[in-house]
Amino acid sequence: MMNKEALLLAAIFAPIFGALILPLLGRVSQGLRNNTALALVALSCLCSLSFIPSVMGGKNIIFSFALPLSLSLTFYADTLAVFMAVVSSFIGAIIVLYSFDYISHYDNQNEYYLMVVLFLGAMMGLVYSANLIYLFLFWEITAIACWRLIGFYRGQRDVLKADKAFLVTVFGALVMLIGFVAIFQQTGTFNLIIMRGQVLPDIIVALILFGILSKSATLPFQTWLPDAGVAPSPVTALLHAAVLVKIGVYVFARLFLMTFMISSSWHATVMMIAGASALVAAGAALVETDIKRLVAYSTISQIGFIFLGLAAGNMVGAVGGLLYILMHGLAKGGLFLCAGIIEQNAKTKDITRMGGLIRTMPVTAMAFLFCAFSVMGIPPLGGFFSKFMVISGGIKSGEIWLTLVFIVGAFMTILYLFRAFTLIFLGESKGYPSREGSKMMVACVALLAILSLAGGLLANYPIGFLKTAGYQMVGLLK
């Protein structure tokens, strides 16, 4: 088993320490730096993938290094963690690949790759941490990396928006830290494995929820996310579609489904917040004209669906919510990357000034359409299964009317995505010259679209995997 533990450490620390040497490599050769960045993320992904057979067989991997003051360094790879790690590092790797061309004509590329890889490494650390303090530590590293990346263009407005994102999420995290300390007061440990099955008082749940909702950009903490659309598109894809916003969701699953018992009134409460968030953001997406803000609102709205599944308190909802993370990551990542191609080649972000782009960028248009179908939840794309499962979970929990709020949100999802697709790709061109993106970028979005389709056709594999996670959950109402 020594071997597996080494892989676990590699999955976390290869990108974190590797990131630090990227700026040095960048001084030697850009190609070397780019490929190394990709290799680091891919390595992390491969390591995580290699855990799948063993966690499926019920053998979770633990690495522990004793330190005083309850600060023992403990990493723990169970089904949930491996799933999350694979999803984020895999989508992360595609985004890094896409960045090669996208970012190639901007300044500060060394810092860009440093921050992206550091961010992904911290994400790995976060999902594998079995100690609340290290979880918080990695959480904050992602916040810092995210702060630098949002303000990548260094304009006055960009920096302000980066500050806003940082302040909102860090404020939430600090409130959450109070919750963590309160947990320590109650249990005498920060170790998640030891405190499995404990009942958590409402006040602590509320404090932790503060952090989770702020990180996952849920009402009333949502507005930093659309504002962070000032970042380069691969960054928005990475932070706002695939990885960063899923941190909150992951911690929710980790703490409130996998570790603690919480009182059942929280299920309805979280569903209510998520429903309001899904609806408000969907409405905003129907009004918004900036393509990246539009997709960002869509993310906020879809996060609501994930919370619906996780908070439903039953197996089908929880598995559906986790599956939603995968399907939404693929599809929304694709949408953001498409937005990047459009924004670079049409030289505008305003969808009312675009039109007819399907003729100049057919592949991007098809990729956009397929990813949009997946987000809408249309079979045979992957989004269908996740949407059906969270809705099914919501209904199973008995909150029928609350679930109907989400259905209205799903109606609006169809409307705003078609509105965007029509304004961008169909109709008459508004005179902006445009061309297809570079081969690599187009290949990346096409890959994500194909994966969204494959996710639907082969949905039984992720569902089967997530079911083993579902069986380990203690927070499900039996």
């Binding site: 507005t223 408000v280 029928i400």
Partner: protein, 545 residues
């Protein structure tokens, strides 16, 4: 847990699935010629046959989730087929997608709820009552089924598609296939999953939807001046008969409804195919420009006549027999439903007299020739089936449809052969004769075939209603889009308010706080000394206590 791949081969599902396959084959042959020269014909055919796959999957599925998977997948092929119609057809494609997509989401809720109530998603094992939440689930499932079949108020994309989508799409999808699967699911849900009773609200609801669909759609069909558009409204109107028949929950009505479903698929696709032949050969489907095609396209004309007589319910064609069964059931449930159904027949006959007269008879301005044989063959085969299903109606009714209900439900009744109720037959004949007289009157009054319905179109109250309907004021889609936009503005307002809290309110609070501290740090030594003194005294007082 989620997707159990189970299929079900019983009389009903096999019948529908094989009908789908046959229609796809025949119309596919037609499409090969029709789409020739279209840049996107390859793409169209891909969607066309994929559509067949999804439809058959939906029909054979024995698991509600599997059914939903195939059912919703039809959205993609439908969207694709309308999209290739032309540069502007995307508007219709999106409209169709949104209407069907939203109703499919309702169906998703219905399926999740039904599965929850029944404890299983296996269709053959489900039995739920329509009381309480079951009733809600039933309505949600009905929304999905009715929208797929094209009943009101989910119909408005069909007339738009008539002018935008390629014709084989119209002949196959709204013409035949969507009726088959929509009515299939409707029947399964209302008779097997929920087992509605004749006296229940669910039955009444279905009958009302059916009656409303019949009459309003046919009234719109009457005034159309385009071959394909006129047909598309009939594609909606005819659904009403099926829903009405099945909604009666009486064996006679159900058999009539199902028989009407297959009959409608036959004559409606045949009519669309003749329309396509006209479009291809005469270059237009505008009735004001057509005329006298009967002698130039005799085979097409013959097929049109057979199909038109069938849809009008003239004996001994198939439509006559199925309509009589539906009338029988409707009359038993309430004379008003019967009256609406018969009125629908009157206008149906009137509009087809007008259509046939304007397109095929009269003076011709165009030189057209007969369509090539691969286009004629499907028409002739389908028209022949219309006759066979009428004359030998024991074949479809006794062999195919009656066994679907099972012998115990039939209570020894026999529904094939000549209609049992001669009063109904007499009424039908009177109504048909009335339609002919009405047509002659209309032609005489307006002086041309196309104006045969003008006296109804421009009647005092009808005129203003028709004007508004033409402007799409009654279109639920347009109304829904307006509502969605208003809702979106309000929700966006909430979002902006939250943003104001961060961007303005928080900043102001912080500035207020800092200005207080600033004010305290005035730089004046004596002020600081006073502060220090006050502070030290406070400390001393606390220590002393």
């Amino acid at each position: 847990m989620i997707l159990e791949f189970s299929f079900r081969f019983d009389q009903f599902s096999i019948f529908i699935a094989s009908s789908i396959a046959i229609f796809t084959l025949l119309i596919g042959l037609y499409a090969l010629i029709f789409m020739k020269g279209n840049r996107a014909s390859g793409q169209f055919l891909v969607y066309f046959f994929l559509n067949c796959f999804f439809a058959i999957g939906a029909v054979l599925a024995n698991n509600l989730i599997l059914l939903l998977f195939f059912w919703e997948s039809l959205l993609l092929t439908m969207f694709g087929m309308i999209m290739v119609g032309g540069r502007e057809s995307y508007k219709t494609a999106i409209k169709a997608f949104i209407i069907i997509g939203i109703t499919d989401l309702c169906m998703m809720v219905g399926i999740a709820l039904t599965g929850q109530l029944a404890g299983t998603f296996t269709m053959s094992a489900i039995s739920v009552s329509t009381a309480g939440l079951g009733g809600f689930a039933f309505i949600m499932l009905m929304i999905g089924a009715l929208a797929k079949a094209g009943a009101m108020p989910f119909h408005t994309w069909i007339p738009d598609a008539a002018s935008d989508a390629p014709l084989p799409f119209m002949a196959l999808i709204p013409g035949a296939l969507e009726k088959l699967i929509g009515i299939y699911f409707l029947t399964r849900v209302s008779l097997e999953l929920f087992k509605i009773e004749p006296a229940s609200w669910a039955s009444l609801l279905l009958m009302i939807v059916g009656a409303v669909t019949i009459i309003f759609a046919v009234l719109m069909a009457l005034i159309q001046k385009d071959f394909k558009k006129l047909l598309s409204y009939h594609a909606i109107s005819q659904v009403g008969y099926m829903v009405l028949g099945i909604g009666t929950a009486l064996p006679v009505g159900i058999i009539g409804g199902l028989f009407h479903m297959i009959n409608n698929a036959l004559y409606k696709s045949c009519l669309f195919l003749t329309g396509g032949a006209v479009e291809k050969e005469a270059g237009t489907t505008d009735l004001t420009k057509l005329g006298g095609l009967a002698w130039q396209m005799p085979v097409t004309f013959a097929c049109f006549v057979v199909a038109a007589l069938s849809i009008s319910g003239v004996p001994p064609f198939n439509g006559f027999f199925s309509k009589e069964l539906v009338y029988d059931g409707a009359l038993e449930r309430g004379w008003i439903f019967y009256a609406v159904a018969v009125a629908g027949s009157f206008f149906t006959a009137a509009s087809f007299l007008k259509l046939g007269h304007a397109a095929f008879l009269g003076r011709s301005d165009t030189k057209s020739k007969e369509a090539p044989w691969p286009m004629l063959l499907p028409m002739v085969v389908i028209a022949a089936a219309c006759i066979i299903f009428g004359v030998y109606n024991t074949l479809p009714i006794d062999r195919i449809i009656a066994p679907i209900l099972g012998s115990h439900a039939l209570e020894g009744h026999k529904f094939s052969g000549l209609p049992a109720n001669m009063f109904l037959v007499l009424m039908t004949l009177i109504v048909l004769a009335g339609a002919v007289l009405n047509h002659l009157y209309g032609v005489k009054k307006s002086g041309k075939a196309i104006g045969a319905a003008d006296h109804i179109h421009y009647a005092p109250v009808m005129h203003s209603l028709y004007d508004r309907a033409e402007k799409k004021i009654f279109d639920p889609y347009e109304i829904g889009m307006k509502l969605a936009n208003v809702a979106a503005r309000i929700l966006y307002g909430i979002d902006r308010f939250v943003d104001w809290f961060y961007e303005v309110f928080t900043v102001r609070i912080v500035l207020l706080f800092t200005s207080l501290i600033k004010w305290a740090h005035s730089g004046n030594i004596s002020t600081y000394v006073i502060w220090s003194l006050v502070g030290s005294i406070a400390v001393l007082v606390m220590a002393w206590r």
